[in-house]
Amino acid sequence: MEAPQYVAARVQGALAEDDRTHELGIRVDVRGDQLFLRGQVGCQERRTLIADVAAEAAPGLTIHNELSVVDIREPEEEETL
């Protein structure tokens, strides 16, 4: 059985290098047959694509897509320096 660290590293590499994603800041954890994705992405479509690429890179694992979509709030008061 492949060590979970290697599976997580392979998924992170796929997320960074796959043309559909190119996401560098996604945290990937493997626990038994479960794979967890955490972090922030720009929109719902990217959130879904990341889970698709992860599933392809780690077939047989159950994907838990815990990514959140960045919520852009309006600017606040300026900071005086």
């Binding site: 043309d19 190119h22 800041g25 972090g39 922030q40 720009g42 929109c43 479509e45 990217r46 960045v70 919520d71 852009i72 709030r73 309006e74 600017p75 606040e76 008061e77 300026e78 900071e79 005086t80 320096l81």
Partner: protein, 242 residues
């Protein structure tokens, strides 16, 4: 005269999010005098994504200055993307400077992509294999160019705009193991030597907003996921506020 600097980085635009960011820029002229973009404007650095960036930031009522990030280099088209932005009136820095007159106050902006290598005591050295030497030398050459640009800059206020971070303060929240890929102290060393009023960077999505250099220059990580808001606004020389 005070200056209000709006800044954001890592907007990572593509066709799938085109138009969404622009809506947050309405009325920006009431909040800021200039908008600085700290790189990673695209996801893959394609010309198509560059066009989305152009449409998102063109024709704003305040000047826009940008640097590119590592994502904007991925498709080996950084010069083409920079040209597209310039054609749309957006100033793009590549280890050089620009001076903008804002109501009689000269704002000087020095900057570029920056690069990695790590932070003092925990960094790579120009030693060993050519690949390592090239990695470190790339950062050294950038830092040298920033030092010269700052030395020659004639402005009332001085801001450095980077994609990579010059300090590790603003990386807090990122895994320490990847700090060498997030920035380099060589950038801060060059800026501290010549002086600046503010340093802005992006790149570290899980970092924190506020930091300082060894010489006490304020550093702000304006990566969009860090800010959580459309842009930060920083007021320089704010005696009595902006």
């Amino acid at each position: 005269m005070s200056l209000r600097i709006a800044a954001v980085g890592d907007v990572h635009l593509g066709a799938d999010v085109g138009g969404r960011y622009r809506s947050h820029l309405t009325g920006i002229e009431e909040k800021a005098d200039v908008l600085l973009l700290a790189g990673d404007l695209t996801r893959h650095g394609t010309l198509e994504e560059g066009e989305v960036v152009v449409q998102e930031f063109r024709d704003l009522p305040i000047p826009v200055v940008a640097v590119l990030g590592n994502h904007d280099h991925h498709s080996d088209k950084p010069a083409e993307i920079a040209a597209m932005l310039r054609d749309a009136g957006i100033m793009v820095l590549h280890d050089d400077s620009v001076v903008i007159d804002i109501n009689g106050t000269r704002l000087g902006v020095v900057g570029g992509k920056g690069f990695g290598g790590g932070f003092a005591g925990k960094c790579a050295s120009e030693f060993g294999e050519p690949e390592i030497k090239a990695f470190v030398n790339h950062t050294k050459r950038i830092a040298d160019r920033w030092r010269v640009a700052l030395k020659e800059l004639e402005a009332d206020k001085r801001v450095v705009l980077s994609h990579y971070s010059p300090v590790n303060d603003t990386l807090a929240g990122e895994p320490p193991e990847i700090y060498p890929f997030l920035g380099s102290y060589l950038l801060a060393e060059a800026i501290d030597a010549e002086g600046a009023d503010l340093i802005l960077h992006g790149h570290a999505h899980m970092g924190t907003e506020k930091g300082i250099t060894s010489a006490g220059i304020r550093v702000r990580n304006v990566a969009l996921p860090v800010l959580g808001r459309a842009y930060g606004v920083y007021c320089l020389n704010g005696e009595g506020g902006c």
